[in-house]
């Protein structure tokens, strides 16, 4: 199904456990999968035996979603897949004491101080972007000082050495470099906002 070896092995399956109907459905899906593989094979993302391509993943997600599952995991010796749907957790700070429960229930971390703008619609597009994340906890500044221009804007081209922002921690101004080449497509954090370790700061299209 999801990766080649398994497609093969399922084809090799003897005794046709499935009825005719499901068998043909399988063939159809496999065609779709091979199409998407071809499409992507032109890119650097050459499908390896143990990999999973986007189309397959999308199909899988649709499938799981369509049936209202919130969690899916798949794993074999080559691959492991897990899909889980975390509903946006009500924040624990709410006055209603019961709010502890939903927050607990949703398996989401507590209110993050530095709440990154979630933008879940755009999430799929942004998945392609390279993320510059904060290597330290601190306060995010886009320019060297309040009266200066920001280091970068949306649309700016960066090289690995380009300073993209400052994260202030313990009165120290830490210049953050892009560490990649590309174009700034997205800025996730407002000037002056606190950021935590690993928090995405910029989205870069390579």
């Amino acid at each position: 199904m999801l990766a080649k070896p398994r497609l093969n092995s399922s084809k090799e399956q003897k005794g046709g456990r499935m009825s005719e109907n499901t068998e043909s459905a399988k063939v159809k899906k496999q065609e779709e999968i091979s199409k998407s593989k071809t499409r992507r094979s032109g890119k650097r993302d050459q499908p390896t035996e143990a990999s999973l391509n986007m189309a397959e993943l999308r199909e899988l997600a649709e499938l799981v979603n369509e049936h209202g599952f919130t969690d899916f995991e798949f794993e074999n010796e080559n691959i492991r897949v897990r899909l889980s749907k975390m509903t946006a957790a009500p924040v624990m700070q709410a006055v209603n004491p019961i709010s502890a429960a939903p927050a607990f229930a949703a398996a989401a971390p507590a209110a993050q101080t530095s709440a990154a703008p979630a933008a879940s619609d755009e999430a799929t597009q942004e998945d392609d972007l390279y993320k510059i994340t904060s290597p330290i906890v601190g306060t995010f500044y886009r320019s060297p000082s309040p009266d200066k221009e920001p280091y970068v804007q949306e649309g700016s081209k960066v090289t690995p050495e380009t300073t993209v922002c400052i994260v202030e921690a313990m009165k120290l101004m830490n210049e953050i470099q892009a560490e990649t080449t590309g174009e700034v497509v997205k800025i996730y954090v407002e000037n002056g906002q606190p950021v935590e370790y690993g928090q995405p700061l910029f989205g870069i299209r390579k």
């Binding site: 624990m92 607990f104 971390p109 507590a110 209110a111 101080t113 906890v137 601190g138 921690a169 606190p194």
Partner: protein, 449 residues
Amino acid sequence: MKKREIRKILIANRGEIACRIIWTCKEMGIKTVAVHSEADKEALHVRYADEAICIGAPPSAQSYLNIPAIISAAEITNVDAIHPGYGFLAESETFAKICEDCNIKFIGPKPHVIGMMGDKVEARRTMKAAGVPILPGSPDPIESADEAIRLAKEIGFPVIIKAAAGGGGRGMRIVRKEEDLAVNLETAQTEALAAFKNGAVYIERYIERPRHIEIQVLADEYGNVIHLGERECSIQRRHQKLLEEAPSPVVTPEQRDEMGAVAVKACQEIGYSSAGTFEFLLDEDGSFYFMEMNTRIQVEHPVTEMVTLADIVRNQIRIAQGEELGFTQEDVLIVGHSIECRINAEDPEKFTPSPGKITAFNIPGGPGVRVDTAVYPGYTVPPYYDSMIAKLIVHARTRELAIARMRRALEMMVVEGIKTTIPLHIKIMNDERFQKGDFSTKFMEEFQH
């Protein structure tokens, strides 16, 4: 009287102690900030706290020991104080000092007191000066084998060589004969240097069958000091406590008063504030000797809370707010008997760590049972940190009833998916010598399991 009100506390720790601190903060109406590594995103302290900040990668050095990250987190969340818990930065003079410099109240004693007690040689000297009995031994680090031999003869064999900066058994050597001294001294120095970046060692009399008895103290910033009685911590494996009790099955009320008075006086002498613990070796003849002072909350503090009904974390926070203790030694009652078993994610026979996903988890309830834990069904115990996943604590009228209660609670506690020390604790509860209270710190070496 509150000199400074604490409205928000950052907890520079993880696991059950972070939850423990959050519980008291909630009871006091104080907001909490959890910090966590990338491995602890799903941890309970992160969920229970009002705010949470990821401070670094899973290894402790990059997260829970990462002072700049923690201070930054404290600054961006605008907390009034930091509670260090135990372990990690709890006994770091540097960290306490930086907190002070950043105008964040470190919940613990003054930095220089932490430093003083962290150096065993200095602690010993200070305590001796404060009238605390110490084991006959070298006042200063040993410089040479000759000096060691002269001292050992004076003290009398057996002697023990200990690292000045040490803990956890590293840099320790027991020497029973003069001819073994020189080589052991060298090994101990090497070990100490490797483990603590400090090769200084000292020598003291070695007691064959001591008990590990510790006294819990509370001291405010105005010289008011009380003690909450003793804890019996002799059941250890390789100097790691496995279970603790309060009170000790052998300490008499007179001994308690005596040890307590010594600890209280010492706190006043050194200007101690906050909660602290004096660890003593109790010899079979009833004499006791200072081992070290822990300038923080202990893992085993719940047994004291059970028998005294004091909330030690609350007292730490009140003291940090500049409040007076508000009660005296006469107000301290010790009622019944309490036992704590440390439930570790370990093979109960081999003591090898057993991290992994907990597939089923059930906490025993009912009278006299307390569980301090940060674990829940589905939680994955990460391999990066301490293996303790829960503390099971019981309280009953007598030691005999407490043992029966602990056995019941252990049998009803369910942890599936990983191995734990529960079976070992059940064996200890069923051990005749344990039941009689007839043991020393050698118990686990002699224990048949």
